[in-house]
Subunit: 218 residues, 2 copies
DNA sequence: AACTAATATCTTGTATACAAAGTAATTGAC
DNA sequence: GTCAATTACTTTGTATACAAGATATTAGTT
């Protein structure tokens, strides 16, 4: 375990925000949370500061900490950036990737296939993340890798639900194969486009979901 | 002024790290800095936490805070990501940019021209940043805009010195014009490539600078 | 003289205490 | 009865106090 409880608390709070225990706009009471975690206000405040800089919480001076879930517009923007970031990873990876790494990627995709065959959405989700993370890594740029992982993590709660839409897993798999082919051929433009489209599908699905909600609400 | 001194202190420390007052690896003593800023350790620690999450400082548990300047490799990686991020901005802006915004961009470039004519590297630097920031904004994706601005800010101290290399300002200007043309034509691929190359020049210059240092040291 | 072990000192991490700003409630006037 | 103002009560921001881990120093042994 960590030695500084602030990091632990920050991670725990992050999880609680992700899984919806704390909804958007909720105020995070320092004293309540402090006794809930069994610590004093000092480490808890440090945790809140951390969450603020990762964008999960807004700190209003003299007012408190408030959960800040991105709205539909911001989410669309984040999905767009994710798609472009991954396209960049693919573009770089197409030129830099080794044969061994390509084998690893094929293995990751085989695991996705197995999860899809088993109709296991959770497993597919995990293996799919590994597939993508492999491409981040093979961009050969660890700064880019870290940034991609950060955004992937941030979008995780919103991606998760979409995989359960029927027909998405097989479709995702065929898209993966196109990506692997482009990377194998070393065709950076094709790889970038394939990966961008692949990720953009999620953004579009999300968009139509939002549009549906809007229509329903009006 | 801000109400929470932690943010002020964080900004001040950031500046001190940027301008080289604190070098890479320096330990930031909490009590010393606290009395230097005239506050207690509590807000200062919060400032250090902020700096850690923006990557300027490493916090080693029970050991302290250490200035963390990116090494040559990491800087190259960051330059590469900056180039790709800006390329994405250009690609999106090419499709989304309004005529008014194009005029603003031309104006920004005219100011760069004026600074170049006056041989004013500092002014050129400022106007150049505005030119680039305009493209970020015109990507129409404010999340992307913010991320680009963040990285731009982080690379600022390393870019600054390079503009003083002779011949760089005129070259930069002609590159700007290619970018403006591509954006005017709405050619997203051309705009992306032009901006990527434009930023990559700095990365390459930096690389040769590093290589020179390495050779000199051996 | 060099290495190890024990102790002393320093520094970080956490809790508590206090002060100022903000919010809610109660009282008073119209 | 409603609105405003003053007062009481939270809650945040900061300082100080304390505890535990890390570093430095000194003493002892080989």
């Amino acid at each position: 375990m960590e030695q500084r409880s602030a990091v632990n608390i920050a991670n725990s709070l992050e999880q609680l925000i992700f899984d919806g225990t704390f909804a958007d706009g909720d105020r995070l009471d320092e004293v309540r949370l402090a006794e809930q975690f069994g610590v004093s206000r000092t480490p808890l405040r440090e945790a809140l500061q951390r969450l603020e800089s990762s964008g999960l919480v807004t700190l209003i001076p003299r007012r408190g900490a408030f959960v800040r879930q991105p709205g539909p517009l911001e989410l669309l923007e984040m999905f767009e950036v994710m798609a472009e970031l991954e396209a960049v990873c693919a573009r770089l990876a197409a030129r830099r990737m080794s044969d061994d790494a390509l084998d690893m990627l094929r293995l990751a995709n085989a695991r996705c296939q197995a999860a899809s065959d088993a109709q296991d959405a959770d497993l597919y989700y995990t293996e799919n993340e590994r597939f993508h993370a492999t491409i981040y890594r093979e961009s050969g740029n660890s700064f880019l890798e870290q940034e991609s992982l950060k955004l992937q993590k941030r979008l995780r709660p919103f991606r998760r639900q979409q995989l359960r839409l029927r027909g998405r897993m097989p479709q995702s798999l065929t898209e993966h194969e196109v990506i692997v082919e482009a990377l194998t051929a070393g065709d950076s433009n094709a790889a970038a486009n394939a990966l961008r489209d692949h990720v953009n599908v999620q953004g579009e699905r999300f968009q139509s979901l939002m549009a549906g909600l809007k229509t329903a609400a009006s």
